[in-house]
């Protein structure tokens, strides 16, 4: 067989193959399974309810709460300034700029933590940064922030400080706790750094 015929046959064969396989323009998963195992183990995606309450009260502009529950549930109750992105539509284009960005800190929440974690895992595997999960979810939020229980008298001082903060937060956020005027600044919430989105470098080209 001549080189010419080998090239012709090769082109036709590969052309038919490529015409038949589905298109793959990008590799969707940026993180490998092994990398995900490490991330999940470190639990760095969790942010505590206390921290979120603190940021909410101080009106931290870089905080973005994302409610991944259904619109119905969102209507009934949602955290202040939260936006509703149900799990079923989390990958749709209109939310892309919210879940994949480099200026805000997204905190996903659901009633428990199951759905918020599902959302987080999807986004994380796509390589998106700055998405977090509210530890304990809304249920825990209600127990601790909205209706804080006074610690027993034998508790450590910091437990009381936490309780004071929660009560104050509860008042500020419209919960059932008594309103006290203790400054909430006692627990200085440390915030994970916001990872700036790596700009996709449009490669230069042309002649």
């Amino acid at each position: 067989m001549t080189i010419r015929n080998i090239v012709f046959l090769g082109m036709v064969f590969l052309g038919v193959v490529i015409a038949m396989v589905p298109e793959n323009t990008t590799k969707p998963y940026k993180l490998t399974a092994e990398e995900m195992v490490i991330e999940v183990q470190s639990a760095a995606e969790m942010v505590s309810a206390d921290n979120v309450a603190h940021w909410l009260i101080s009106k931290d502009p870089s905080l973005q709460l994302i409610d991944v529950r259904s619109p119905d549930e969102f209507q009934k109750y949602h955290l202040e300034n939260a936006i509703n992105i149900p799990l079923s539509v989390i990958l749709e284009d209109e939310y892309r700029d919210i879940v994949d960005q480099g200026v805000k800190m997204n905190v996903l929440y659901s009633n428990g933590t199951l759905d918020s974690h599902k959302g987080w895992m999807i986004l994380r595997q796509l390589g998106f940064e700055n998405n977090y999960v509210l530890q304990g979810g809304l249920n825990y939020w209600f127990d601790t922030i909205m209706n804080p229980q006074a610690p027993s008298v034998y508790s450590a001082d910091e437990e009381f400080a936490k309780y004071d903060f929660r009560k104050a937060a509860s008042g500020a956020l419209g919960g059932g706790g008594a309103v006290t005027l203790t400054a909430p600044a006692k627990t200085k919430a440390k915030k994970p750094p916001i990872i700036r989105k790596k700009k996709k470098k449009a490669p230069e080209g042309g002649c």
């Binding site: 090239v7 012709f8 082109m11 036709v12 590969l14 052309g15 038919v16 490529i18 015409a19 038949m20 396989v21 589905p22 298109e23 793959n24 323009t25 990008t26 590799k27 996709k200 470098k201 449009a202 490669p203 230069e204 080209g205 042309g206 002649c207």
Partner: protein, 196 residues
Amino acid sequence: MGPLVPQEIIGANWNLFIAFAIGVGFGFVLEQAGFSSSRKLAGMFYGYDTVVLKVFFTGAITAMLGLLFFSLFGWIDLNLVYVNPTFLGSAIVGGIIMGAGFIMGGFCPGTSVCAAAIGKVDAMVFIGGIFLGVFFFAEGYPLLKDFYMSGSYGPLKLHEVLGISSGVLVLLVIIAALGMFKLGEMAEKKWPREEY
């Protein structure tokens, strides 16, 4: 994985070295194919030598297939590959002017560099002409700017326009190319040439 430099898998300072290495391969292949001879290149338009057609289309198709398969295997992120933006007006008129230059000069810029490398004086003169042409464009740029920017469609891809998958488009290009290769071979038989 790829492209390696835009993803910073290879440092950007390697980019120019890579450019040089790729250029060596480019020049070597062009010269081996006979693109250092203007008579061979011009033969394309008189039917006595269609090596341009064969090399050009085989090369383009190989790269198309390569890109799509690399993307399929996850070896390259096509979003990070530069796609020439389409400016319809300037692409057509620029192409027409280049076509006239091709039939008169017998080279295109890449092949003229390659031919100059092996001592073709006509290629060196051609390169001198290119410098002048660029100079004329640069000086006339204020007048040409509006037209230069007209008909902008951004990085538009042909299969998107046609509404087919990229794979099907490549297959169509392959079929069309095979037809042209056949025509070219027939033409070469009809107008035989002496070797030079």
